[in-house]
Symmetry: C2
Subunit: 435 residues, 2 copies
């Protein structure tokens, strides 16, 4: 089937998905969990074939590990779907309500976005998780996974489509794209696809953004900073840098650049260098940083780099404003933290740093949908519209304006003799709405 036909099918189904009740959507999630468990052997077999082919083709070991979808990974993915079931329904929530006049009530109510195009890396568990989130939010989805997981993805999407159909979800809401040509076609379908969510390398996300007029919820680099203020508790700062940098280096919320206030550098940098040596983490410093401890030289390039490995760049700055300026110049707007005993300095930093996450005395590694309590996340957005930071179910919704009238005409509210509007806020009177 061509992608455009898939999109048209999905769009039609989605209109009906928008009015599924919470119970219907949760029942479908249960059916999917059961079907995954029932088909475990088959899933393992297909996944094994994908893995063998990938190894034969010389695929790298870390990628092979991500490709594996068997046993405990299937169980964990099912637990993930159970968690999505427990999340509150994001659809039909009254954001605001206002009486425009007696008998003329305006409500701003959440609803699904529509048809989502999701393009992700090889991990088959991502397919299941994303399908669960789109189902719960009443959206339809065209999924494009890594081609090395072709057999696994085909089977998983088939199982999900069948189980949800049996649970009463309109057929066609989940579609699988398979080739690069399919992705190209997706990029041209602005009439049908409402939002693209690419997950993968920075270059890949940029490629998507520059080759479509469809809105993209993208995630660029995570060039993450921590600034150690003059008032900081130096011991706390060493611990927070250690956790932010070394707890898991290969992720976007791991620390890349450390900014140290000149007033605390002499006390703090030697202790920091000692800890990083113990961890085997390489330091690259500016000339002033290097005067306090042995470390390699940092170049201009370092300030812009997301290492994703055990390397940390260090720069000494003379003020809070200089730290903010550095972050807003070189950062990627992902997550940036200040270590400080001074609440006013911290608040100033958090207001002036233009990033999705601005943290005070806490590890940058907390920037994550699960840790934030959003439930499963679709991704972490460095966009500055719609959704910013970890994106959960709410990020898959928008709103519509519902106006409830009794025959009111605009002519009666127009001109010098026109009725005035009341514009009375009645938001608190309107609870969760049944859809």
């Amino acid at each position: 089937m061509r992608i455009e036909e898939m999109a048209i099918q999905a769009e039609k189904a989605q209109i009906k998905c928008a009015v599924l009740s919470t119970e219907e959507k949760n029942r479908a999630l249960s059916y999917i969990v059961e079907a995954l468990k029932k088909n475990e052997t088959l899933i393992c077999e297909e996944n094994q074939k994908d893995m063998v082919d990938f190894e034969k083709a010389g695929g790298a070991l870390p990628l092979l590990k991500r490709l594996k979808f068997q046993d405990e990974k299937i169980a964990a993915t099912c637990r993930g779907l159970e968690d999505v079931k427990k999340l509150p329904d994001p659809v039909g929530r009254v954001i605001g309500a206002r009486l425009l006049d007696e008998g003329l009530e305006l409500r701003q109510v959440t609803c699904p976005i529509g048809l989502i195009g999701m393009i992700f890396e090889s991990r088959p568990d991502a397919l299941v998780q994303i399908a669960g989130l789109t189902l719960k939010s009443g959206n339809a989805v065209i999924l494009k996974g890594g081609s090395e997981a072709g057999r696994t993805n085909r089977l998983l999407s088939h199982i999900i489509a069948e189980a949800s159909r049996e649970a009463g979800v309109p057929e066609g809401w989940i579609q699988l794209a398979e080739t690069r040509e399919d992705v190209k076609e997706m990029l041209s379908l602005s009439e049908h696809i409402d939002l693209l969510i690419p997950r993968g390398s920075n270059e890949f996300v940029r490629y998507i953004m520059t080759n479509t007029s469809i809105p993209v919820l993208g995630h660029a680099d995570g060039v993450t900073h921590m600034y150690v203020h003059s008032s900081a508790d130096a011991e706390m700062a060493v611990e927070l840098v250690d956790d932010s940098k070394n707890q898991y280096v290969a992720v976007c919320n791991a620390l890349e650049t450390l900014l140290v206030d000149g007033a605390i550098a002499a006390r703090f940098i030697p202790a920091l260098a000692q800890r990083m040596r113990e961890r085997g983490t390489e330091l690259r410093g500016c000339p002033r940083a290097r005067s306090y401890a042995e470390m390699n030289e940092a170049t201009e390039e370092d300030w812009r780099t997301e290492y994703l490995e055990a390397i940390l760049s260090v720069r000494v700055v003379d003020s809070l404003d200089e730290a903010i300026e550095h972050i807003n110049t070189y950062g990627s707007g992902h997550t940036d933290a200040i270590v400080s005993a001074d609440a006013e300095a911290a608040e100033y930093f958090m207001n002036m740093v233009d990033s999705a996450g601005v943290f005070w005395n806490s590890s940058t590694r907390f920037a994550d949908g699960y840790r934030y309590g959003l439930g499963a996340e679709v991704g972490i957005s460095t966009n500055k519209i719609h959704a910013r930071g970890p994106v959960g179910l709410d990020g898959l919704c928008i709103y519509k304006w519902k106006l409830y009238g009794q025959g009111q005409k605009v002519a009666d509210y127009t001109g010098p003799e026109g009725r005035p509007f009341l514009h009375k806020d009645i938001t608190s009177d309107s609870g969760q709405e049944g859809v």
Copy 2:
């Protein structure tokens, strides 16, 4: 100055605009009003020169009227700025707050988007209104108005820049682009410009959308529908169609296509045709509609057309579902209404029609930021992300995640022995935040 330099200046200023207090922003709005009034003569002179040139060049009369910015128009624009002053500050509002653990508090707080690129038609009053909205929301803006208003726009942006600078707003937040080349350069500045808002013809908005990777808050056609349900009060329906179609035909929320349920067609269509004849509005109908009253023939093209004049297409449908299907197929997702005495049918319609505005027993002409009570509007969005329908101050804001800790590390919350998260909602404890 090149547009990129303007953008860099504006970005720098914007970081500081983000932390302006409500009082500072309102004072700046007052200074601007005073400055506009003080310079009224000069504004009229420059505007007169623009008008004379435009007339000499053979400019059309309706456009000349839009270009005029003198006397009462200046006064009305100043009243508009006073209204923006009265609107609540959209920045620093706590959307949600959650204790991740004792002493580890997460807040989701509204903040400005950053640098907005605004491209609009000739009306100079739009420049002032948009400047007011961007200032109040702590954003910076690059404005590109119609070239025929060149002198007026230059003077107005100069007056606004000077008056706001005197009030303490960081210099550089408002920039004026002037040529088509400038617009082209704006489209390439995805590193600096966070959101583009084009206002103008459908083709123009499409051109912007397909030629930039910057997010665009756009407004496509308003192919607006009204469906007269079998249960409708026929008299109310005639009144509502009349108001929706004829109260002001040249606007996006005016009615274009009327769908009539077969069960009420014989009773309703003759009365409708009578009223439209009185108004001088042309009807174009499907074969069944034409069997109830004299009218021209509608073609497939008519169902997709935004007339913006005194023409109404009429189609008879056999059910609520057929009406919904027609609207979701041919509509533009702007505003669509049902006339019905049946609440269940109305609610079904409002949930299944995928449009920014879904109205029950009320005129489509209510779809407007002022009538909704949002204050001045930036435009009406048919996007399905970020902001939908009339966009006011809230549409110029996004949020950031602020995490307040006491030295917490992710390592302590990880693994089988890890501390569990509390994830306790404390939203109601967090009021409006001082920034």
